[in-house]
């Protein structure tokens, strides 16, 4: 029964992505056509790798990495609170409320932030009245605004897997840890957090990957300064009318995502094995004593 969905994915996902890879090796014959196949070469990749676009690449990577990290930091205590501390009677409702932002359009939400942080918006007025700042807020169309926007837009994608991870955690584990003399901090860092690791990894992937391809948030809140790789792809396909270079940039974007995920995955594994090795020694010492 899965074959209709399988065929659907092949026809409208695998083939189109493969088409992109093929076009990225093609060429643009003249100003009137967007692409042509043949004359296979790496020229488009050379264009896509041009040093002119290096700042866009580093900017995308920076916004995505910092965004993922901030999402993790602010979602961790929240998801823990939601899954463990909140009265179970209200848990369902509160979890549902996290999703409410999803039911309004992504773009409209971002425009909402534009209204809030604009120099004559009420965040600015409020902070001026309170005396935090003495000039209108200059946040809109800066990298900070883009950072705020992406954290906001992708936060629920971090909260949900973290919630699931903490929710599945057996309370007996925490109690056992406390019975064995661990304090609250140690219980959280050495029991709850490691057990929630699959959720943390899932959340980071769910935030990082779409964030790398996002350019809408950057366009609404970042103006010209918020250059993202996705924007570059869109421009090559749109006003640039050069699909081979656009395709090469899209392939580059995917390669960058895979590379970053691979590097951080490897770092995580190394860190885990080091931590495990260190902890194992402690336990052995206690057993022999």
């Amino acid at each position: 029964m899965a074959w209709p969905a399988g065929l659907f994915f092949i026809a409208f996902f695998l083939i189109p992505v493969a088409v992109i890879v093929v076009i990225s090796f093609g060429y643009k014959p003249d100003i009137f056509s967007t692409y042509a196949l043949g004359n296979w070469s790496f020229d488009n990749y050379r264009t896509a790798f041009d040093p002119v676009y290096a700042p866009t690449l580093t900017n995308t990577l920076r916004v995505a990495l910092i965004g993922t990290f901030i999402c993790l930091i602010i979602a961790l205590p929240f998801s823990y609170w939601l899954a463990v501390r909140v009265n179970p009677r209200w848990r369902g409702l509160l979890l549902g409320l996290v999703l409410v932002p999803f039911w309004t359009n992504f773009l409209v939400r971002t425009i909402g932030w534009q209204l809030i942080i604009s120099p004559n918006g009420f965040a600015s007025d409020f902070m001026q009245n309170v005396g935090l700042i003495d000039q209108p807020l200059e946040l809109l169309y800066t990298r900070g605004a883009v950072q705020l926007g992406v954290v906001y837009n992708y936060l629920p994608l971090m909260i949900l897997p973290l919630f699931v991870a903490f929710d599945r955690l057996d309370p007996a584990m925490r109690e056992a840890s406390k019975d064995l003399g661990a304090n609250r901090f140690k219980t959280f860092t050495q029991v709850s957090l490691p057990l929630a690791m699959p959720g943390i990894v899932a959340g980071m992937l769910l935030v990082f990957i779409p964030l790398m391809g996002d350019y809408i948030t950057a366009e609404v809140l970042g103006g010209a300064k918020g250059n993202m790789l996705g924007q570059l792809v869109a421009v090559w396909f749109g006003s640039g009318q050069n699909w081979p270079v656009g395709s090469a940039t899209a392939v580059l974007l995917m390669a960058l995502i895979l590379l970053t995920v691979g590097v951080f995955g490897a770092l995580g594994l190394i860190l885990r094995s080091i931590l495990r090795a260190r902890r194992r020694v402690e336990i052995v010492v206690k057993e022999s004593a």
């Binding site: 996902f13 992505v17 359009n105 209204l115 990957i209 396909f237």
Partner: protein, 298 residues
Amino acid sequence: MTTMESTRAATKSPIVEKRKRRDWTNGLLNVWGVLMYLFLFAPIFVIIAFSFNTGRLLTSWNGFGFEGYEAFFNNPNAQRAVWVSVQAGFMAALIATVLGTMAGIALARRPGKWVGIFLALVAVVLVTPEIVDAVGLLPWYVRLGEDWNLVAFGNGLVRLVISHAIFATAVVALIVRARLAGLDEALEESAADLYAPPFRRFTQITLPLVMPAVLAGALLSFTLSLDNTIISSFVSTPGYTPWPVYVFSSLRSALRPEIASVSTLMFALTLVAIGLVALVLRRGGDSSGDIAKTMTGT
């Protein structure tokens, strides 16, 4: 029982001590929770407030009034965009729900080597950035529609429906699979033992069992479609501009208050739809926690 009571009595003071400290971190976490909800809702409240802006531009507050709502009812382009979005959302949700439910049931009930391959495919669909899908689909539709004369793929609505249904199908398949994986297969087996033919077994046992997941998946597919901006802006054709693309293009010219008004109306409608689905799920006997979990696909 008695031992527990005695230990409780013996260690009474440390427990009281712990209560107090727990209250302290609880308080901190409660404050954090409230702040997070304020953060999550801030732009929505602002949009709702600004939908009553009487100014010509959305961004500069002029006064309170219903001009934004009136403007929408006098703007055929905006109405058409909303209508295209709603149509695309319904059809994409229908396709995604049918294909995804079938795939999800097969994934949970027909184990085999293919399950791994299929799940890998689903994972790739879910993690591919939208912009990559978008630029892949555009030349593909052009090829199908113009070079191979499959006229349907030149139609903007067909393009939107297919593009939106891809991601949603993957989501529905996962939700349905998760729901069915948690249910005992013996229910279907006993129906077979009682001589229910395969089709009746499917319609009277399997389908009612997965219904909450199917409904949640359909709703999620619909909202994913309404939300989709990047792919839509690439594949849409003149005459079939969906609502997000309309907003995106007016971002470059001028944002009018009616954008906030329409968003507020659509937000209210979605809330009603979610309420209805939650009601249906509650009739099915799920607790509010289960409902939220089903709706979030966890």
